[in-house]
Symmetry: C2
Subunit: 222 residues, 2 copies
């Protein structure tokens, strides 16, 4: 499948590389591909990542979205709406938009707080801003490496959540998640349930802090 | 041990009955014991509960706290600070105060929002208001029945959290939780980590909603 991954950070890298490994064609969207490429040359991590993943092409948000049948929002939460506006509502219409971003506010020190919470969520804001996109919030509750390789922790016996208004879109995303290795995929309900998975982040960050590693997740016991 | 359970609702009932079953002496604190008793006469559930638990004596918040070596805050989050003020700071000084309450705001419909979150928590507010109490936040992430009988779900293979500034107090509370049947007790850190377990509630409420039962919890996979 042709997939756009918007965002070039840890999450975008992890998802893009995994998608290529699974046989998908991937365009990685960024504001200014030339600048990202040049910055990459000064960033050993991103430089190495680009060298290791030659199949992933850098593109503008709009080019990536235009190319894609499915779009992944892996940008910083604070920049997500701007990035998606740059991608263009008309290029998202009718497409599944997997939203992994989190509304984390690092401006008040660590651990970060949330700049949206309680009676709204970033997932909902994105769905409202792009009503033609089929938004599915998922994967935002684990560290990038686990998103792509859930089997690396506890034989994959832990849970990933789905929130979204479109049942068919959630079924397609669940199928993609299974191809990553996810076994326990929990459909929470409509996009308002994104509040739950976003507000879980402060607990997740404390689990990370207490254990000294982000290789941690929860399993829903029912 | 002599234990005060402040609050006569589902959580107070579940904890008080379990403590009696485990051999503790329990006073259940309420604003006005006579009114609670009379209201109980018109509330089949509470009437039956009182009849079934004759060892639990109703008392004022202050009487219960005075009697107790350990105090459990099982009041509604919105009334917790008032209830604890009525119990009296001098009767809480030096004692472990287990805080189970949640800052749930039902005034804007279902599901409830949180009236404290993000950069503060009810657990922290209680610790600040009663600096002499040894506050340990715990058990607030599961339904009342599971608090008392964790083995009823998944052979007890799920997690309860501890937040608090006093390591010795957390160790004592962990011991009490083990006597309830809790096997996986996760110390998140100081009382600021109460933000994590309180902000987890919106996710928990959605799990409940999706499954149609509160008999659900998470296990931390690490």
């Amino acid at each position: 499948m042709n997939i756009a991954v918007l965002g070039t950070g840890m999450v975008g890298q992890a998802i893009a590389a995994r998608l290529v490994e699974l046989g998908h064609s991937v365009r990685m969207g960024t504001r200014d591909p030339q600048k990202t490429f040049e910055r990459g040359a000064g960033d050993e991590g991103f430089r190495q990542w680009m060298d290791a993943n030659p199949a992933v092409k850098l593109a503008t948000y709009a080019e990536a979205a235009s190319f894609a049948e499915l779009v992944v929002n892996a940008t910083n939460g604070a920049g997500s709406l701007d990035a998606l506006r740059a991608a263009g509502a008309e290029r998202l219409d009718g497409k599944i938009l997997i939203d992994i971003a989190n509304p984390l506010d690092f401006s008040r020190g660590m651990p970060p707080t949330l700049f949206i919470s309680n009676d709204d969520s970033l997932g909902e804001q994105i769905q409202r801003a792009f009503p033609g996109a089929r938004v599915v919030k998922t994967l935002n509750t684990v560290t990038a490496r686990l998103m792509a390789y859930p089997a690396l922790l506890g034989d994959g016996q832990h849970t990933v959540f789905l929130s979204g208004n479109d049942a068919a879109a959630k079924a397609e995303v669940a199928s993609l998640l299974r191809s990553f290795g996810w076994q326990d995929i929990f459909d929470l309900g409509d996009i308002t349930t994104a509040r739950g998975v976003e507000m879980y982040l402060p607990l997740w960050l404390r689990l990370w802090g207490a254990l000294g590693t982000g290789m941690v997740n929860v399993r829903v016991v029912r």
